[in-house]
Symmetry: C2
Subunit: 281 residues, 2 copies
């Protein structure tokens, strides 16, 4: 497995690797969810293509300095997991290798980023779009795999690719969960044991609300109320947002007439977790 630490080194090493080239952009602290993305990338690349993983804790997408500082960075473990998963190339740059001190060009998204995480994390998705476009350009990737867990990120990146004619295929992969239903996240390891035991409630709250569909419910309020009730029954968590939005535009919906997403972000202490369910009318 090759490892590149700078953009120049990356370009050199890529020249020796066959196409198609499929990228899995990550912030490291790899878990089984990431490895599922790697396997999906291998399927897309084929046995003879190249699967590449980027490991970069992108400073410009963090709105809270504490969150950035606390983000786990177990690089040696990550490299071992990539090697075991059959990754061909890992790109793990320092922040200084990715951004000039006087950088002034940003990719901005002005519609899909207005709600959900975008509303409470100002600048977050501009940071995501900017770094992902940089990675696409550096890798000259043919395709890239992202987790559906980050539903808003995935929708925004698809929009970026559409609006900027980026020649990269975006592949989404279903959320991978712990046995108790908690969505896998690099932030889960920062939960206290009590909070970890409570956290599967997030999924149950969303699934429970979704079950109202079976009773013919289509207006937004009952779904939101049911999920909120179950979340607020927790003695620990604080709701950052709970919203019902159109699955494509991510704008709030009234009656559910097209695929919609019931999405939430909650805090356990200073650990922020997200999850969502899709509602099909």
């Amino acid at each position: 497995m090759r490892i590149a630490r700078t953009p120049d080194d990356l370009r050199l090493q890529l020249a020796a690797l066959p196409r198609p080239r499929v990228l899995v952009p990550t912030m490291g602290a790899l878990h089984d969810g990431h490895l599922a993305l790697v396997h999906r990338a291998r399927k897309a690349a084929g046995p003879d293509g190249t699967v590449a993983v980027s490991i970069f804790v992108n400073p410009i997408q963090f709105d809270r300095p504490g969150d950035l500082a606390a983000y786990p960075k177990p690089l040696e473990d990550d490299l071992a997991k990539c090697q075991a998963a059959g990754v061909d190339l890992v790109f793990a740059p320092e922040a200084g290798a990715m951004y000039f001190p006087d950088r002034s060009v940003t990719v901005t998204e002005s519609l899909l980023s207005k709600h959900l995480c975008g509303a409470t994390r100002p600048g977050h998705f501009d940071g995501v779009c900017t770094v992902v476009l940089k990675l696409f350009n550096l890798f000259q990737a043919d395709a890239a795999v992202f987790g559906e867990k980050d539903v808003q990120q995935l929708a925004i990146l698809r929009r970026m690719v559409r609006d900027l004619d980026v020649p990269v295929e975006i592949i989404g992969h279903p959320t991978v969960r712990e046995p108790d239903g908690l969505a896998m996240s690099s932030r889960n390891v920062r939960l206290t044991p009590e909070h970890r035991a409570d956290a599967p409630r997030i999924r149950r709250a969303l699934e429970g609300a979704r079950s109202l569909l079976q009773f013919g419910e289509r207006s937004a309020a009952p779904f939101l109320a049911a999920a909120r009730k179950h979340l607020e029954d927790s003695p620990f968590l604080r709701i950052d947002y709970l919203e019902l939005v159109d699955a494509e535009t991510l704008q709030p919906v009234g009656p559910i007439k097209r695929p919609a997403v019931l999405a939430t972000a909650v805090f356990y202490g200073d650990v922020r977790l997200i999850d969502h369910v899709t509602l099909l009318p």
Copy 2:
């Protein structure tokens, strides 16, 4: 010469054309300045490479609807000039083929676009960056040629390529002038005969100011005053801006210690013309 009118058609036709692929992005109404860029592109592409020209009056970079409506669009003439100049492929899309009605992703530049044209044309350079990145992505270009006449545009595009790791080489080409010194521009044909006769004053004002360098002058005010005096002697023109900025950062400078740019935009009626000179300390 091939002609493509939609992005899909462009991709198909490009597949048959050899690399390197050098792009000259234009808004059409081609004059000898553009044709000099085409010849520069041929030099970069070599006899066996591909020289492509895009002709697209990009609506999102116009801040004045009247300017957009009045912009000349002589497509048949443009195609004939491209053919005669040895262009291999022209891409001339309709606006509807380039932008979705609900487009929401933009490339923004926040530093170099603050002065000069950026100050009086809000959103202009975001529109330029966005369309140029789209064209780079659609063409998968190896290099692109731009006129140095649009000095701010060229600096901003170089910055975009740097900050987003765009794998396209940016080639600048010196301003091409009419025999009387007026910088060539597609807007020149819209000048009245009186205005056209007066317009070489722009270049003379800038050159005259630059001559102060020979007398050891290095502070900004005398350069600005000399140029302003000569411009304001015109009975016709109105100054949009006149600024002395650093050649790289495009921020206003006091004493000239590094390469600087003395740049102006003026209106003759509703026709806006730009020009600049470089001052080397």
